[in-house]
Each structure stands twice: as structure tokens, then as C-alpha cells.
Symmetry: C2
Amino acid sequence: MSIATENFLKEIYQLSQTPGGETKPGVVAEKLGISNAAATDMARNLAAKELIIYEKYKELRLTSKGQNLALALLRKHRLWETFLYRTLGINLSQIHNEAELLEHSTSDFLVSKIDSYLGEPAFDPHGDPIPQPDGKIPDTDELIRLSTAKQGQNYHVRRLSGSEDEFFEFCRDNSIDIGQSIEVEKHYPSQNSIAVKILGQRILLNNELAGKIYVEIKKY
Amino acid sequence: MSIATENFLKEIYQLSQTPGGETKPGVVAEKLGISNAAATDMARNLAAKELIIYEKYKELRLTSKGQNLALALLRKHRLWETFLYRTLGINLSQIHNEAELLEHSTSDFLVSKIDSYLGEPAFDPHGDPIPQPDGKIPDTDELIRLSTAKQGQNYHVRRLSGSEDEFFEFCRDNSIDIGQSIEVEKHYPSQNSIAVKILGQRILLNNELAGKIYVEIKKY
DNA sequence: AAAATAATTTAAGTAAACTTAAAAAACATA
DNA sequence: TATGTTTTTTAAGTTTACTTAAATTATTTT
């Protein structure tokens, strides 16, 4: 399994978990920074290996074999993030990129060692659930995206689910941290934005960004 | 820098450090498990990138640029080994293979984090010196290869410098561990072998294997 | 529904890292 | 030194993962 293949499968999985995310070659291509033609090419290859189901002009769908591989990779990624954060003290904004490299060089043996060293964690430092060895994904039922949160309601930030440096930079600059209290002030549907209050500061977020912030209703 | 390139440079470096080791395409090819033709091909490529000096039918020599890259890779390898051994408790015989993969996915940033976490070690768990950030290699002057050790003399095992699983399996099975006392009983030049005594047991080692075991004269 | 636009696919080509087979050079030996 | 063996190199071909450009199909707009 090559790095290109692994990343392609992972991207299809991630897109399939994104609301409104389309798993079409063009979208995958854009995410991976390759041409549409390359994505179509790869889609045909992966279909031949029975990792995805590919019908021309249709969305790409993972087979269960393909999904298992994607989940195994995501597991490696999130365990590495947890390890880098907890053990080496690397920043939330930096662990993603390092894990992105390491995940492809990690044997099943090594990942299980890391897992037991960390005490078999269910969530990574961003709050993202870590797929378990059996493929099950820890529950995030009580969490909702900030973009869909209720006006006037108070929440706790539970998950920062982005991958770009800039997302974490923005969160850090605006005190959006895991555990932080946050109040939804107002939705602006026409602006595709939401106003929230954090530590007395009013902040306007666009829905795309707010969709990467997961919150839980504050219990008093 | 691709993985193939990195491994090729590292192999040239390692061969250049091996007594009687020839850095010719065929030898590198055999070590890396590729064809002679592929090695010649790679040699021409690396020469074009000024990482090695390549003259037809001559030995391959690293340029200082090439040597720096090889040393940086070796540093990553040995720091990973130290980390896997100390922190995750992985066996001496298993750390090499894992580090062999991880070394290629390790940023300079990450390696420096690992280095400080470990307290900037000078030697890895096999006793191999870890190249320092400036390219300097910690002293191993008092160490000699067991194959060249003096008859009748007592030593301490200080370094097990192999890479194959079988080498470590053999050492483990015969109590050849770092710190272990060892006495050279007799050389058998015609057999290319050496007889040693460990924990009361007499063992016959061929010189190739004994050349990977470094010892220090026992001080009473 | 037709036309315009956008996405996807096909076609052709490239670069890296290999392969095998044949040719050339180096080395070893009688 | 001539011959035979081994090693290295060259040549030609493969696979993977891309590229750009052109053709095709799908979607959106009018």
C-alpha cells in the first residue's frame, strides 16, 4: 500500500464524514493537491484492487476493505497525535503535520505499543475520536457542530476538527480551546456566519469554520 | 529527497565505515535488495545532484553534502531506536526495523523534540554512537571489534552493531548483551573464527559476526 | 429544451525507481 | 599474457503517480 493510495482512501473517508462533502474525484483531487485526471486514474486503480467502488461520473465509495484501511490509517494518525502532544509536548497546531507523515511508516505492532503506552485513549488532543482496533469509533453523540448550535445556548468546546495550520492559529488567537465556555449569540444565515461570545469577546465565525468546532451543551 | 535516495546514501556511508567494505554499486545493490543496474542508475542520479562522486567502475564516494544527509538520517534512526527502546519498551531486536521506516518520515523539528526528550543521548541502545546535530560522532575510541580482540584478555560488551534480526536473536540466545563480561579464549584464523567464554560457556563466533560486537578492555 | 458552463474522463507524455538481458570493462587465474 | 569469470554498464521495458490538453459527459442557467 503506497502513501498516495493511503492518503487517497483516507481522503474519501474524511469527505464521506463531512456534511455536504462530495466524494467525487475533483474534490479528492483538490484536497490532495493533485489534478482531476490523477484522481480519476487513482480511482480506477483502487477499484481494480477492490478498495473502492468506482462508476464513471459517480461518487467514489469505499468498500469495506477500503474503509478498514482508511480507519486503520486514521487510527495511526490520531494515536500519533496523542503521543506527540502528551509525550513530546508538541503543539496542537503542529501535531497534525507530523502525524500525517508518521502514519504511513507505522507497523501494526508499533501502533499497538503506542496505544497501550497511552492507555488506549478514545480521543486525540483535538477531541477527534480514535478508531479502535475493531474499527468502532468512540461515541460523539452529545457533540454538535457549532454551526448548528442553538442561539442563546451555552456550550463547552469539545473538539477542534481541522487540519490546516491556519485553523488552529485562528482558534488559539481567539481562545477557542477544548473545554472553553462558549455562548451562541446569533446566526446570520445570509452571511453564512455565526456570532459567539468567548471570555466576554464577541467573535464572528463563518459556518465553514464553525462546522469544525464541536460543542456540548453546558450542564450547570 | 526520496526514501530510495536516503537509503542509498545511508548504505554508502555504512559500507564506508565497515572494514573491508567496498562502496561499489554491486555491494550497495545487494544490501538494498535491488539489481546492479538499479544501483548504477541511482549512482548516476545522485552524482547529478552532487550527493556522491561517481566515476565508472570506481567506488562510490559521498560528497560532504551527501555525507551530511547520510549522517542526519543515521541520527534520526538512532534517536528513534533510543526512543522506541526507552519509552515504548520495544526489544533491541525490533527497534531497528521500526526505526528504518520512521527515519524517513521525521522532520528536523520532530527529531530535535525527541532528542531533548531523551536528554540528548550520545549512544543508542545498541551502543552505536548517535551523530550529533553538527555532524560530529561521539567517541568510541576505547572500543575494538571482538574479532580483533586479544587472546586471553577480558572485556565488556559495549556495542552490538548489526541490523538483521538474526544477529540479535543470536546475541540474546548466547547472553551477548551490552555490559556483559566476555573473555577471548582463542583465535582460529584458518576457520575465520574466534572462541570466547561468556558466563562459563564457550562459544565459537565467525569473524564477520564478531566484527559487529564491540568490546572494551575490562578494568579491575 | 437548448446553450453555456463545469466536471470528468481519455489520451499522451513525464519522472522515479525499478526490472531483465546484452554488451563492455575489470579482475582473476592458469 | 591470454582466457575465463565476475562486475559494471547500457539498453530497453515496466509500474506508479503524476502532468497538461483535448474530448466527453453532466449540470446549470437562460
